[in-house]
Symmetry: C2
Amino acid sequence: MAAPSKPAHAEDSGSTAKRGKPTLRTIAEITGLAVTTVSRALSDAPQISLETRKRVREVADEIGYSPDRAAQRLKTGRTNVIGVLLDPHEEILGYGTSIMSGIAKALQGTAYHLIVMPNFLNKTNVEAVHYITRNAMADGLIFSRTEPLDPRVRLLSDLGFPFVTHGRTELSTPHPYVDYDNFTFAYQATKRLIAKGRRKPALISGPADFTFAGYLQHGFMTAVREAGCAYEILTGVDLDSPAGMIRDRVRQRYAEPDPPDSFMCGGEVCALATITGMSDCGLTLGREYDIVAKQTSHLLSAIQPQVETIYEDLTATGEDMGRVLLQKIGGESDVSRLQLLLCPQIPASFDAAG
Amino acid sequence: MAAPSKPAHAEDSGSTAKRGKPTLRTIAEITGLAVTTVSRALSDAPQISLETRKRVREVADEIGYSPDRAAQRLKTGRTNVIGVLLDPHEEILGYGTSIMSGIAKALQGTAYHLIVMPNFLNKTNVEAVHYITRNAMADGLIFSRTEPLDPRVRLLSDLGFPFVTHGRTELSTPHPYVDYDNFTFAYQATKRLIAKGRRKPALISGPADFTFAGYLQHGFMTAVREAGCAYEILTGVDLDSPAGMIRDRVRQRYAEPDPPDSFMCGGEVCALATITGMSDCGLTLGREYDIVAKQTSHLLSAIQPQVETIYEDLTATGEDMGRVLLQKIGGESDVSRLQLLLCPQIPASFDAAG
DNA sequence: CTGGCCATTTAAAACGTTATAAATTCAGCA
DNA sequence: TGCTGAATTTATAACGTTTTAAATGGCCAG
């Protein structure tokens, strides 16, 4: 445990005084102003004369000043950090990376940093949230896998701690969210299967815990009811199931009587696994059965062009979440402006005949 | 710009004095000791009597004290933050998520947080590194996509700033890294293709910029040379190419004379795209051709069991990188202890006859 | 010339921690 | 008794910023 002191990578070579990282004091000495004035000038306080503000900014730029985040944080209590609760268990292709890319993009140019809080040994997600708020580790929180009565949302709402969820809840207190319209997605996707002449679509839905699973199911049911056709909701597997399990389940289902003739898959992995299972049974996609799936990367349509897909742009979602959270932190109190329901883009091909 | 002051979520209700988040002062008042003593006691300084240390720790635990990171950081100059340079452009399945999960696991229980620095508008990666070191935004850095003469490595080595790369360099200054033995992987994978009776394996390698591409190539070449068979290194595409492009390239290649009869794919997406391309040409995996691929998720083998795969555990890699970086920061100066070459696990099935 | 008011600038304190140097206590011993 | 040194504790200052309250100087009405 050789404890190294302050980082060694800081050249020392000064003409007048010590020359480390420039601080407010450096600028103050150069301009002959007081530290306070410099601080104010840089934050464009109206009480500082326009001329002084300009001069200070110039000097600051010249010497490459950037404020010490630790000091700011200590003084103001604001961390300038946005936390993302990352779930290691994402079967959705590129979920984590895309979302984070998006958030990072929204944070570009702001004072905010993105920090990842993985949900590991932190037993439950609620505990992680508790920990973060108690220790003031971030100014805002972003998380996904939202449940209808999500306890994290409850907690954060109670505390008045800013957050955005990916997905809606059914709680009475409205809160900021960004969500994909999974109802419309499922509805359109299922209608498409029926339009192609399929008479018994099957749904592979999300884990029942999560809100979006309900929307998927609702959209699916609405479409099959409208058409008055048979349907099935595949049991025993969901979008979180590993590919091998979905594959086996599909295969097994086909050994039983009255199998479905098409699938509405909520994800790419699910679609690929389904195709493999069906193919093992000797059935060909586009001939004996069809699939419509949600796509979040560009893999599926490249690998299986036969699958019709509706694209959900997770990077854009992340960007929206970042933006919404910044607004919330910035004081926006009209929650309805902080709720975004992103509309699925239905491909033009969906209008064509089956 | 309604600037909210200090976070509102902090109950106020004190009997004796103000009761906010407990600080060293709180403990000092309770125990009747000086703040300095408390600080020392909590850091287990030998100069504080054992009894005092124990009592202070008890009180600290009781009132749920946790040190203010901002204050520590301001005072010590240490940030207790590990930064990951995340490249949005990862075609490797789950790369970002896996690596980060791993790092987070290694950081569990330490004082370190994981913060993501995406490489976006920060024009080049070197500039991002420059920015991070200049502004002391982290105590250590982790990044991937390492190049033989990686400028980031150069810069950080010069500055003496702790870092770990995923991948090796060819720079003369040794530095901490964690790498997968891609030579052995490629060598074994190619040998396997040849053992299965294939006579003209093709390699789809990584982008030429990156060090690992060279190792892949070297392993591949060693195997084909040993066997004295024909070979091909597919041009125009690499592991970063989108699936659709790889698919088309493979298809196109088969329209030309003397095509390869097997593929060594460095990634799952690549393998899937190759299969699709070949299938478009009417060729069946396992019959007209074979593939051995590197797998980093569990998707490929579930979808295409015909593909023989060698698994690279990216989460474990992340964990190793985290551990190594902590050691480096902790003062370990024997670089050779900070260099890990992870050995591919060759499946037992590779020994069986083709 | 005094007093008051404005615009602008400033000094001092504080955030919570750690480092430096000094103080306190007490035992051992001349 | 008084001195030395070890063991333990403490006061003070500092990190870089923002906040609060106060100071400065100019200008005009009285």
